[in-house]
């Protein structure tokens, strides 16, 4: 549609918050930069050469007016608006974790060089039990419900990046971080690693498939059967689940 590439398609409940603030900042800072450039170019074009420069130190009180006006415009026109609006939206979206929402899909993510391990709690709703569903690089979630992930890493810092859901969060060894989003459109999306994690950082790509509720339920049944087949009680290394952490 335009010659410049746009944002990736938004497939989330709160992604428009991000797109909104990006748009607001682009327009307002664009105007400010345009004004700066215009004044500079006019001065360079017309106030040059062998003429008497206007001799002033710009230190009279009224000379401070342009700086005060520019400062006030930026402080109240850009900073304050962005701050108030973003804080409000962060509190109602990204920072309001669905701890009390029983319909949320909970997933534990263990990142490693260079793959994503996803763990679903299975039918019992508990992580670290024999019925956990494990997948590698393929994340399946139902549409229209919150998806709540907690992350850690086995080796170095990674960062789970979901461009179509406008969010990302680091996976840090020794720590559990959290992130949630709510898909609104079924389909296939990509998971990227955003934090440099070694030579094959660029290949640490995962796939996120948003399914309808029925398809997700069907997949879960199949995946649970697979997981039960692969479960080995003696394989301690595979049992890296943690007890789901409530939000601090």
């Amino acid at each position: 549609m335009t010659f410049l590439p746009a944002l990736p398609r938004d497939a989330s409940l709160h992604g428009h918050h991000v797109d909104g603030i990006l748009g607001y900042l682009t327009v307002t800072t664009g105007i400010c930069f345009g004004v700066l450039l215009a004044i500079l170019l006019v001065a360079v074009a017309f106030h040059r050469g062998n003429r008497q420069a206007h001799y002033t130190h710009g230190d009279r009180p009224r000379d401070r007016l342009p700086a005060v006006i520019a400062g006030v415009v930026v402080l109240f026109g850009i900073d304050a608006v962005a701050l108030v609006r973003s804080t409000e939206r962060l509190r109602e979206g990204m920072w309001r974790y669905p701890d009390d929402d029983p319909t949320a899909t909970r997933i534990e993510v263990t990142a490693q060089q260079w793959a994503w391990n996803f763990r679903y709690p299975g039918a019992d709703g508990q992580f670290g039990t024999a019925d956990d569903i494990l997948t590698l690089n393929e994340l399946r979630v139902p549409v229209g419900k919150p998806v709540y992930v907690q992350l850690t890493s086995k080796d170095v810092i990674h960062s789970m990046y979901l461009p179509n859901f406008r969010t990302k969060i680091d996976a840090v060894p020794g720590t559990i971080t959290r992130m949630w989003f709510q898909p609104t459109t079924a389909g296939g999306y990509e998971i990227g690693c955003a934090q440099h994690c070694g030579a094959w950082h660029y290949k640490m790509r995962g796939e996120l498939t948003v399914l309808s509720a029925e398809d997700f339920a069907r997949w879960q049944v199949r995946a649970a059967a697979d997981a039960a087949l692969r479960y080995e009680a003696a394989d301690a290394e595979a049992h890296d689940a943690w007890t789901w952490r409530p939000a601090p």
Binding site: P5, C32, R48, T56, G58, P66, V74, D79, P163, Y202
Partner: protein
């Protein structure tokens, strides 16, 4: 030139008397190599910085080749540099390329050129002093930096390859877990020594400005260049030790097996990798101001000099710089919004970061006010200063996108960040460095640079800088992460590949354009016309001296009577027949104010 020992020479110490002047050293080693003369040390830092600027620039060309043509053999030099892959950049080599590009550019090119080079050369001359407060420390600062460059260079040739954990060297990637080779240890040592060098310089600059200003050179008569360098030195002295602390702990983790930053799995906790990020960014955010403050100061002076009128709102500008310096120490958390930081901290850092935009805008208004109704002379240094204003404006405003948690979470670790910081702390700083070189070259080397060649260099550099880093903002906005050896692995990034090729083409032109500068620099060094004492017709103290100045700078310490930007004063024009007034030059019949 020798001073008359009988004359009542005023000492460096703010008008107090001093003993007879030192004779200048004559032996090669004392005069040229282990010199304690700030002008020689400044030139040494400049050479070192320029050499490493070329190295880091060449690494950038290889990065851009890979991003435009992933996996294709690099033309001409590929077979030589990457024999094991048939000339193409492997994924591992790519990570080493961007690591060393960033490390060298920040610590071993921009810092030595602006702070080491022009800080040393300019500070004493601009404040009317004969040398730095601690000349031997000054020499040690250079040779410590030199040792650091040697160690960093050695890291290129280690068995497991060069350092590759990024210029930020986040653990645990930079510990034995992610970087088992000796190269990363050498990197840590080099950064530590580099920091030691910076702190030595900073202590010197701070003391020199406080104690060695010539009589009458009050703080509010100092050129903005001095303000920029002095404030940068204060930030260096305060915050480089924090990086050094991080480097020491990382060294312990790598060499002694401690676990400050090494964590086990979530179930078996050890140290905390995020602790390093705190230490790194407590230093790292002030660092961007350490780099840009001297460039801002230089631009502030040059805009006034070549608009032939005083800097508009000089005092307000200085207070804005001070405000930025204070705020710069309080905002580092915005680099860590996606580490799982608590919302309370997120809101606080968002607020503080955004507030920086206010003094920054005040600074910009001062620049525009200086240009407005001036008699602008578009000399090469002026063009670079104007370029800095444009490029910094573009880069500065994009900082707001990253200050806001909501937009930062999406943009974090994308090319939007890369474009933003290249515009602000790299391209703008580099334009400031070029402005400084074109401006002070006659004073440093006694010869004039070629102006038409300089203007061509400027035009090509400015256009390619804006295309390269402006389009990086665009592909970052579209979601492309940093540090991907091949972005086309991701389906949603494949449509961006043509744009990546455009960026690379612009970067290659930018690289080639720098050859004009190299040619101009070396040609003029040898064959350029001899520089008069004051080729730019400005009034700061260094231009009252011969080009280049004698060993002891000032035969008699000047008595400063006016500010640094006395240009275009009609009264001065009537009395002196020229449009500028030197800082130590009282108008006839005027009682000098102290």
């Amino acid at each position: 030139m020798t001073a008359d020992p009988a004359s009542p020479a005023e000492g460096n110490g703010g008008g107090e008397g001093a003993g007879p002047l030192h004779p200048s050293p004559t032996g090669f080693w004392r005069a040229r190599v282990f010199s304690t003369d700030h002008k020689v040390i400044g030139r040494q830092f400049l050479w070192l910085g320029l050499v490493f600027l070329a190295v880091a620039g060449a690494l950038a060309m290889l990065i851009r080749w890979q991003l435009a043509h992933p996996g294709q053999p690099v033309p001409v030099v590929g077979a030589l540099l990457f024999p094991s892959t048939g000339g193409s950049v492997s994924a591992a080599a790519y990570t080493a390329l961007f690591t060393m590009h960033g490390t060298i550019m920040i610590f071993f090119a921009l810092t030595p050129i602006l702070i080491g080079g022009f800080g040393n050369f300019c500070l004493p001359l601009l404040i009317g002093a004969r040398d730095m407060a601690f000349p031997v420390l000054n020499m040690l600062s250079f040779w410590t930096m030199f040792a650091a460059t040697g160690i960093l260079t050695a890291s290129f040739f280690t068995p497991l390859g060069p350092p590759a954990a990024g210029w930020t060297a986040y653990p645990t990637l930079s510990t034995a877990i992610g970087a088992p080779g000796v190269a990363q240890t050498l990197w840590v040592v080099a950064i530590y020594l580099n920091g030691a060098s910076s702190v030595m310089g900073a202590v010197n600059y701070i003391t020199t400005v406080i104690r060695f200003r010539a009589p009458g050179m009050t703080f509010f008569r100092m050129p903005l260049t001095v303000w920029g360098l002095w404030l940068a030195a204060i930030l260096n002295a305060l915050f480089v030790p924090v990086l050094a602390a991080g480097a020491v702990l990382l060294f312990f983790d790598r060499v002694l097996g401690t676990r400050f930053f090494v964590a086990g799995s979530a179930i078996r906790p050890g140290g905390d990798p995020v602790l390093y990020q705190h230490l790194f960014w407590i230093f790292g955010h002030p660092e961007v101001y350490i780099l840009i403050l001297p460039a801002w100061g230089i631009a502030g002076d040059l805009l006034s000099f070549f608009a032939r009128k005083p800097a508009f709102g000089y005092r307000v500008t200085v207070w804005a710089l001070i405000a930025i310096v204070v705020l710069s120490g309080l905002v580092y958390g915005h680099h860590m919004f996606v580490t799982g930081m608590s919302p309370l901290l997120g809101e606080g850092f968002m607020l503080l970061t955004m507030i920086i935009s206010v003094p920054s805008v005040v600074l910009g208004v001062g620049w525009l006010g200086t240009l407005w109704r001036g008699a602008i002379r578009l000399t090469t240094p002026m063009l670079f200063a104007l370029g800095l204003v444009v490029v910094f404006g573009l880069g500065g405003f994009t900082g707001l996108f990253l200050a806001d948690v909501l937009s930062d979470v999406y943009l974090h670790d994308t090319f939007f960040v890369v474009g933003h910081f290249h515009l602000t702390m790299s391209a703008a700083v580099l334009l400031g460095a070029f402005a400084a070189i074109y401006f002070w070259f006659p004073k440093m080397f006694g010869r004039l640079l070629n102006e038409p060649l300089g203007k061509l260099h400027f035009a090509l550099t400015l256009v390619t800088v804006i295309v390269t880093f402006g389009l990086q903002l665009v592909i970052g906005y579209a979601g492309m992460q940093r540090r991907l050896a091949d972005p086309s692995v991701y389906a949603w990034l494949r449509p961006l590949m043509p744009l990546n090729r455009v960026i690379s083409t612009a970067a290659f032109v930018m690289g080639a354009a720098q050859l004009l500068f190299v040619a101009n620099f070396f040609y003029s060094l040898r064959w350029g016309p001899k520089a008069p004492p004051n080729p730019w017709q400005v009034g700061t103290l260094e231009w009252t001296l011969p080009s280049p100045p004698p060993h002891h700078n000032f035969d008699v310490i000047p008595r400063v009577v006016v500010g640094p930007h006395e240009l275009g004063n009609p009264a001065a024009k009537r009395a002196l027949g020229r449009d500028y007034q030197a800082q130590n030059e009282a108008l006839p019949g005027e009682v000098p104010r102290e």
